[in-house]
């Protein structure tokens, strides 16, 4: 089942727009990221996280009229037309503890574990499900795909949908917006060095001449 088959407000268009923005922010942070200067995974992760929550908060209700955001410090709650969605970086098959805890607190218990709808008179299902957007990356933080799926408070997943994104095109667009447009003017001239100097060693005679 596709997200919009289960939650009508989670349309393909909105999810693609949201995922594109999240990926743009990550690529933009990767441009600034320089492991050769000491940047590491922690630095990249925090930069991407803070930029993401702030830029989504800026876009909410304006650029993305369907998005509402509750932002408190570094805590964020996102809703797409009222439907809570959590964004996280990681493996869509193994959501981390933060995601499952969030599912426990905010999950929808309308549906049972097997996906059957809950009707009055039935025993309420014990499992809580939430919608998440998982950004999967490789070792250096480069995104490789974005998955929208449901995650339970027990860490199970279902109704997975891969957001159709052209990651190369997004990256190219981000780079064009930043410094890559000015490549020619920014190219540094090659480093030119003078030849190594060699001097005769002072002989004893020369040394005594200098002393006198």
């Amino acid at each position: 089942m596709k997200p919009w088959d289960l939650e009508t407000q989670l349309t393909e268009g909105k999810l693609v727009e949201l995922a594109t923005r999240v990926i743009e922010i990550r690529f933009d942070a990767l441009i600034d990221h320089d492991p050769d200067k000491g940047d590491g995974a922690w630095d990249l992760g925090t930069k991407v996280y803070e930029r993401t929550i702030k830029q989504l908060a800026w876009a909410a209700g304006k650029e993305f009229p369907w998005l509402s955001v509750f932002l408190s410090g570094l805590y964020i709650d996102l809703k797409v037309d009222g439907c809570p969605v959590r964004i996280f970086r990681g493996d869509p098959d193994n959501p981390n503890g933060n995601v499952t805890r969030w599912a426990l607190e905010n999950g929808d218990r309308t549906f049972g574990k097997n996906g059957t709808e809950f009707f009055e008179g039935m025993e309420p299902p014990s499992v809580a499900w939430v919608w998440v957007m998982a950004v999967q990356t490789v070792g250096d933080g480069t995104p490789v795909r974005v998955i929208v799926e449901q995650v339970s408070d027990e860490g199970d997943t279902r109704n997975r949908w891969a957001v159709p994104l052209n990651l190369q095109a997004i990256r190219a667009a981000v780079e064009k917006k930043t410094w890559r447009a000015n490549v020619e003017s920014m190219a540094k001239p090659p480093i030119e060095l003078e030849p190594a100097a060699v001097l005769p060693k002072a002989t004893e005679d020369a040394a005594s001449d200098e002393r006198s």
Binding site: D36, M186, L193, A196
Partner: protein, 367 residues
């Protein structure tokens, strides 16, 4: 002339340098192979006539074989070798002998000349990200711009106190080797036979990596070679500058080949190295990388790099030769005399012409 001090080790080094096997030398001298082996192992002493003949054949003055003290011999375990697995042992011995004589010549020159101080940093790194960071640290240590290409890598090494030399005609199967270690002047010996100036630069950068990252004994493990190549890539093509320069595709999925070739010239590395670095920095996708390699091989572009840049040349030894005039040695020809080498041997070892106007010692017969 006394033969009491005859050094079998010096004979062996001279023979290997000239690329002769024991039986070849024995045939030249009219001796048996076993006798030559005895001479080299010190079990027998030669006659004065044999010493003279050895010198004639190998290109050395008889005094060379009778100098006191052993040569500081370049041994395989002390040197980091960049070579093919199939390189014959004899070829290794030949280039090591070249290195031994070159090191000896540098030591004599250093007794009268002040060479640049050794400023090569010693760094520890084995993980890929640590190696890239080590390359950046190395640039910082030498006060180089972190993101700009290097015009002459050889000159950089020489300024850091590494003596670089290029051998010709010794072996096609050895790209380069280096020797560091405590108490030794660092030396890089690269193959000048390869007409590709980009390969030469890469070899130098690869050896620089060994000098910075690795300690003897040098075991040519694939891991160490990979580490050295990773360092070379990060040092020659630092992330920031290279990423900024890497050309944008004109259309999605396509490489901008014109731009890529410009990078080869600008950064002084082979086209394959440009593609590999772009992939490592995720500037291109795995698919683009794979297609690029296929395309390169199909067109043979990776082999056609002879005129890509001007061939770098070692300069330090030439500078040392020029500076000899203000020293007690005076001139290269006198250096040859002091070393008890023929001028031709000094030319072969140093790769530089020794004054042609001076009457030369008897030249060795060609083998």
């Amino acid at each position: 002339m006394s033969v009491a001090n005859f050094s079998g080790q010096r004979l062996k080094v001279a023979r290997n340098f000239r690329g002769l096997r024991a039986e070849n030398l024995a045939a030249e001298l009219g001796l048996t192979k076993q006798f030559v082996s005895y001479l080299e192992s010190g079990k027998r002493k030669p006659t004065e006539m044999i010493v003279q003949a050895c010198g004639d054949v190998l290109g050395f003055d008889p005094g060379y074989f009778q100098e006191l003290g052993l040569l500081d011999e370049f041994r395989e375990q002390d040197c980091a070798f960049q070579r093919l697995v199939s390189t014959p042992a004899f070829t290794i011995k030949r280039v090591l002998a070249h290195g031994t004589l070159f090191g000896h010549m540098v030591a004599v020159l250093e007794s009268v000349l002040s060479l640049p101080a050794d400023t090569v940093p010693r760094l520890v790194a084995d993980k890929p990200e640590d190696i890239a960071a080590a390359a950046a640290r190395c640039r910082r240590a030498w006060k180089l711009d972190a993101d700009a290409p290097l015009k002459s890598l050889t000159r950089l090494l020489e300024r850091a106190g590494i003596v670089v030399t290029a051998f010709k005609g010794s072996a096609e199967k050895v790209d380069a080797f280096s020797r560091g270690g405590e108490g030794h002047r660092k030396i890089v010996v690269a193959n000048y036979d390869k007409e590709n100036p980009l390969e030469y630069r890469w070899s130098i950068a690869h050896e620089l990596a060994h000098l910075i990252l690795h300690r003897p004994p040098h075991l040519a493990t694939p891991e160490r070679e990979k580490e050295a190549n990773r360092f070379a890539a990060a040092f020659l093509m630092p992330r920031g500058g290279f990423s900024r320069d890497f050309p944008r595709s004109k259309s999605p999925g396509q490489l901008n080949w014109d731009g890529v070739f410009q990078l080869r010239h600008r950064w002084g590395v082979g086209i394959k190295a440009v593609i590999a670095r772009a992939f490592e920095l995720r500037l291109i996708t795995p698919l683009q990388c794979q297609r690029a390699y296929k395309y390169l091989h199909a067109h043979g572009w990776h082999r056609d790099e002879a005129d890509a840049i001007e061939h770098e040349k070692p300069e330090l030894v030439a500078t040392m030769f020029s500076a000899l005039g203000d020293t007690p040695i005076g001139a290269p020809i006198e250096l040859a005399r002091r070393l008890n080498w023929s001028p031709k041997t000094l030319e072969r070892v140093s790769g530089l012409p020794v004054s042609p106007l001076v009457v030369r010692m008897k030249e060795p017969r060609t083998s």
